[in-house]
């Protein structure tokens, strides 16, 4: 290392004169601490490898080391790779590098954030907190309701009327129908092309090469056509109490979808949201149901649609929704709390996805109109409003079929 840099480092990071020398006081070896810091970040899921640490070390001699904000910004630029990591990075940076004696800035001076961002972070933090609390005490929200929640336990749900064992024959028939449906649902012409004899456009490059053999006359034209692309399915299943009677049927549908198509992701929601794709990857449907019942604490509880959608958007939408996603919401739209958020959050989802479908088991009930507040707020953002039965069987199903 450049000796003058060492010297400056010695000055900048001189711990003497500061009382609070923490136990993690670095030994003056910047590179070792940098690697240690990256290791810490990696443990928290950051993509900060040795290469990034080396880059930081390469460039640090060129900045003013007495300027802690400059040091912080260099590290942030190189070690953070998505917006969601910014908050965690600030916290880790602060706790790790405070050991350096010269670090006299308060966190506030260092991480001056404009008010909007601070606002959104606290909102996120608040939601995360709430959600964390919900994870610890899953029954808290339900307990507030006047309903008989004391009866609830996952095992009971599994053993009881909802999850009686599903026979292989039933499943096979379902799969036949879903296969047909998923072929219609799942593809659309992509933007990329494939060479072939038929096709809407001439592939000039290949035609020209081909023509060389005929002295430059294009005797045959090589054509290209658009490749079909599979769309990603994302399913959001309402598992609140009011959906109980439909759950078994819908879970069968979802399980079949998972086993037939690779590109499917599933979430369940009620008072919270949970990513449950892995449960559906089980080899047989009864194991899948058992896994589900163990992993979803809010099963058969209340419904907070707006709240759940907001959590989904915060936690999952950037990762799972894209312009090649068909998002299917399976819910009766009956909310236990009034919320303006439903329309808003759906609008945000709609902006990200190719198609937004809401399948409502009540849609086939004679005389049903989507008047429930959440359902009415949702309608303007939905591309297709229907029921699973109508999609699968192509007609209005009898209400008894689902019960």
């Amino acid at each position: 290392m450049d000796p003058s840099f060492q010297e400056r480092l010695g000055q900048a990071f001189q711990p003497s004169g500061y009382r609070n020398v923490s136990a993690r006081q670095p030994d003056g070896e910047l590179s070792r601490n940098m690697l240690r810091f990256c290791g810490l970040l990696r443990k928290r899921g950051f993509m900060a490898g040795t290469a990034e640490a080396m880059e930081a070390l390469r460039v640090l001699p060129r900045i003013d080391l007495e300027d802690w904000r400059a040091f912080y910004l260099v590290l942030r630029s190189l070690l953070v790779s998505r917006r969601e990591e910014l908050g965690g990075f600030d916290a880790l940076f602060h706790s790790f590098w405070t050991g350096w004696g010269a670090f006299e800035h308060s966190a506030h001076q260092l991480f001056e954030t404009p008010p909007e961002r601070a606002g959104s972070t606290t909102r996120q933090a608040r939601l995360a907190e709430k959600e964390g609390a919900a994870d610890l005490a899953p029954d808290e929200h339900n307990a507030n309701e006047a309903t008989s929640i004391a009866l609830y336990s996952p095992e009971e749900v599994l053993a009881g009327r909802l999850f009686h064992r599903i026979e292989q024959d039933e499943l096979r028939e379902m799969e036949q129908r879903i296969k047909r449906l998923s072929q219609r649902l799942a593809t659309r012409p992509g933007r990329r092309t494939r060479v072939g004899r038929r096709g809407h456009a001439v592939d000039l490059r290949r035609s020209l090469r081909h023509s060389l053999g005929f002295g430059g006359d294009m005797v045959t034209l090589v054509r290209k056509h658009r490749r079909l692309r599979r769309l990603q399915l994302v399913l959001l299943l309402d598992v609140s109490r009011s959906m109980d009677v439909y759950s078994q049927f819908l879970l069968k549908v979802i399980y079949s979808l998972h086993s037939l198509r690779g590109k499917t992701e599933s979430f369940v929601f009620g008072t919270n949201v949970k990513h449950v794709t892995d449960c559906f990857r089980s080899a047989d449907i009864n194991t899948a149901l058992a896994n589900l019942s163990h992993q979803v604490p809010f099963w058969s509880g209340g419904t907070r649609i707006g709240h759940s959608f907001r959590l989904f958007n915060l936690k999952y939408s950037h990762k799972f929704l894209s312009n090649r996603t068909v998002l299917i919401i399976l819910s009766d739209g009956l909310d236990t709390e009034q919320s303006e958020a439903v329309g808003e959050e759906l609008a945000a989802m709609k902006q990200r996805v190719a198609k937004l479908i809401w399948l409502n088991p009540l849609a086939d009930t004679p005389g049903y109109e989507p008047l429930a507040e959440s359902m009415a707020a949702a309608l303007p953002h939905i591309d297709l409003f229907s029921s699973v039965e109508r999609l699968l069987f192509g007609r209005k199903a009898q209400a008894s079929q689902t019960a």
Partner: protein
């Protein structure tokens, strides 16, 4: 040669961009390490502008690749000039060249159309600024291809062989987060999140870009925009909208904000019918009252 983060900040300001230390640090790292910057942020916060200003202060060319779904190699990298090739083959009709020789002639560099990526790495004199705009709109296949180009800075063309970069370009990628980018691409880049500006920053942007603006109007406009962004909207207006709106108000010779002029120019700020409806009448009065109270406050 530009020395240090602070100088970059100053030079950007001279070229009409109100920067901050974070943006300047990223550009500094881009120049030192040649590590591409991935810029994310809401629409209209000046992501693309960073690349334009960088090209200006370096005195170099800006090459822009606008991404969209279905963007492929022939639009991004190179394409053969078919018309010219066909004409040449006609001219070759009477010649004695063999098929192989003919092939060599028509697949030579003079028939090659360079698209943005190829132009960027073959620039003859100095490194250019390569802006890959809205990379989230391109599909995964293209992203993988891009990664290959960005790691080796060389491309291979079957008819010509491998072409290596003469000067490694300064690469800036922008994304609106409509799709999650791959970890590999993120890893290859430094990360920069640009948020909506603070009141002071937005005010200085306004004053820098529209030098003649009445100071009172500038403060009112900024306060109005800051307020509006706290409301729940489908499309929150960015700095681009602020500048558009201010320019329109200047054209209408307004020196302060009143209901009438705001209503007449609301289309500059809100680009969605739902937002326009939402911000009509009552809510507009509410925001204007808030702006007024800020102005009259200490």
């Amino acid at each position: 040669m530009i020395e240090g983060v602070h100088e970059i900040e100053v030079r950007m300001h001279e070229n009409g961009y109100v920067s901050d230390q974070a943006v300047a640090t990223s550009i500094f790292l881009l120049m030192e390490l040649k590590k591409p910057i991935l810029i994310e942020g809401h629409a209209g916060v000046g992501k693309t502008e960073v690349a334009k200003v960088l090209a200006k202060i370096l005195g170099t060319e800006l090459i822009r690749l606008q991404c969209y779904e279905g963007l492929d190699v022939s639009t991004a990298l190179y394409e053969w000039n078919y018309q010219k090739q066909i004409l040449r083959m006609r001219l070759e009709d009477g010649s004695t060249h063999s098929v192989e020789e003919k092939e060599e002639i028509i697949f030579s560099p003079q028939f090659l159309l360079k698209r943005p990526l190829l132009s960027a790495i073959t620039s003859p004199n100095q490194s250019v600024v390569l802006l890959i705009d809205e990379v989230d709109r391109a599909d995964e296949e293209f992203e993988a291809f891009l990664l290959e180009v960005l790691s080796d800075f060389q491309v291979s063309i079957p008819e010509l062989g491998t072409i290596k970069a003469t000067h490694i370009p300064y690469v800036i990628l922008t994304s609106n987060r409509t799709r999650e980018l791959s970890d590999a691409l993120r890893r290859r880049c430094q990360y920069l999140w640009i948020d909506y500006p603070s009141f002071e920053k937005e005010l200085s942007i306004l004053e820098l870009r529209l030098p003649g603006i009445n100071p009172r109007l500038a403060r009112q406009i900024t306060a109005f925009m800051q307020r509006v962004r706290t409301k729940s909207l489908l499309k929150k207006p960015g700095v681009a909208e602020t500048l558009d709106w201010a320019a329109s108000l200047l054209l209408l010779h307004r020196d302060w904000l009143d209901r009438e002029s705001v209503e007449a120019t609301l289309g500059c700020i809100f680009k969605d019918i739902h937002d326009l409806q939402r911000m009509s009448k009552d809510r507009l009065d509410e925001v204007l009252a808030e702006v007024e109270s800020v102005q009259n406050g200490p």
